[in-house]
Amino acid sequence: MSLSSRMIIVLTSVGVLSGALLSTVGLLTRARIEANRLKEIEEAIVSVVPGTETNQKLYEEKDFTVYATRDAEGQVTGYAIYTAGTGFQDKIVIMFGTDAAIQKIFRLTILDQKETPGLGAKITDEEAFLKYWENKDCSQPLALRKPPVALEELSSSEVNVITGATISSEAVLNTVNDSLAKLRSLIQDGTIQIEGNNGQ
């Protein structure tokens, strides 16, 4: 057998074997990987809109997805918004929930971030940041309170800054405000519609 035909045979068989092996592994793991991804979104939706039983994707574009959430009776409980903005280092991926009239933010959670550990990364910290986002009035754009004050002293549309991480805090705030504006305009021009009651 000549050298070149041997080379071709060896490379082809290595390629075919590896391809066969990988497609098996690929098929075996695909469902599970997909399920993991969905589960993460699902859990985040449940955590940001209380009492959610089911959800329905209403609108999707790059780094901006809107879900309608419903309770056990199928009543619309609000919107869960998946969004992302540029922080201090890299993208901050956020999920937050509002009521159906978009007057109130129930909760906010951070799905992914690469901010500075110990400073900007505190945006994932319940005590330092997330608790200030609970049940906020979002009929107007939210504002950042700096320097931070006690929870009781904040007005209903203010959240505390993280000391030493103004940029990360602002990034979250601006992303949320922008997403709210976008959601409202999408509802206004009829791109997003929910069947049944609209909760108004």
Binding site: V25, T29, P117
Partner: protein, 203 residues
């Protein structure tokens, strides 16, 4: 080389030919994933899986592969095992897969793995290659463990997520940031040199 006993073949990866401290191979994952011990361990195990299986496969098919296409064949073999490791982590350990990010697929260009195929498995028996791969992997894991322990303890006051330093300790955040990786490894390399010299003098 060939006269080495199997145990010597195993031991050499730990100190004399430690891939990170002595050969300075596989620096990218070493620096990138050692900000927490758990990431270091996951990376070490994933690399071990790839290195051991690639070595076994390469050593068993080495006679069939013409010299001209050996690197291409090795790369395909390595890439196959890396994909398996990557998919496995993504399916069963999603948080780890997420925190290691692109560094699991990047095992494919980890010089340790291709280097061992080229320098060892393509010339030695299956058994010997297996032992060699095991030793090298263990050396790699130990290095990752040392580096990530130093960084996590000083950088966060924790080890494997458990608080080890009291509340008096103010974490040196810099240690879990990129500069900390470079500084720790640089100082560690210096220390290894000092220890090595002491050892040689005493022999």
């Amino acid at each position: 080389m060939a006269s080495k006993t199997l145990s010597q073949e195993f031991i050499k990866g730990l100190w004399d030919e430690n891939p990170i401290f002595r050969q300075l191979l596989g620096m990218c994952p070493t620096l990138a994933v050692t900000n927490a011990v758990i990431n270091g361990i996951a990376m070490g195990l994933a690399t071990t899986f790839v290195l051991v299986f690639s070595s076994i496969v390469v050593a068993s098919i080495k006679k069939l592969i013409p010299n001209q296409v050996r690197i291409a064949s090795y790369i395909v073999v390595i890439a196959t095992f890396v994909t398996m490791a990557d998919r496995f982590l993504a399916a069963f350990f999603p948080p780890i897969s997420k925190s290691l990010g692109p560094y699991v697929p990047l095992i494919v260009v980890n010089c340790i793995i291709l280097g061992r195929q080229e320098a060892f498995s393509s010339k030695n028996s299956v058994g010997r290659s297996f032992i060699d791969a095991l030793g090298m992997s263990l050396g790699f894991i130990i290095a990752l463990l040392i580096l990530s322990s130093i960084r996590e303890i000083l950088g966060a006051g924790t080890w494997l997520g458990h608080q080890v330093l009291g509340p008096w300790f103010k974490p040196w955040i810099i240690m879990i940031l990129p500069p900390g990786a470079f500084l720790t490894l640089g100082v560690l390399l210096g220390l290894i040199m000092v220890i090595d010299r002491k050892l040689q003098r005493s022999v």
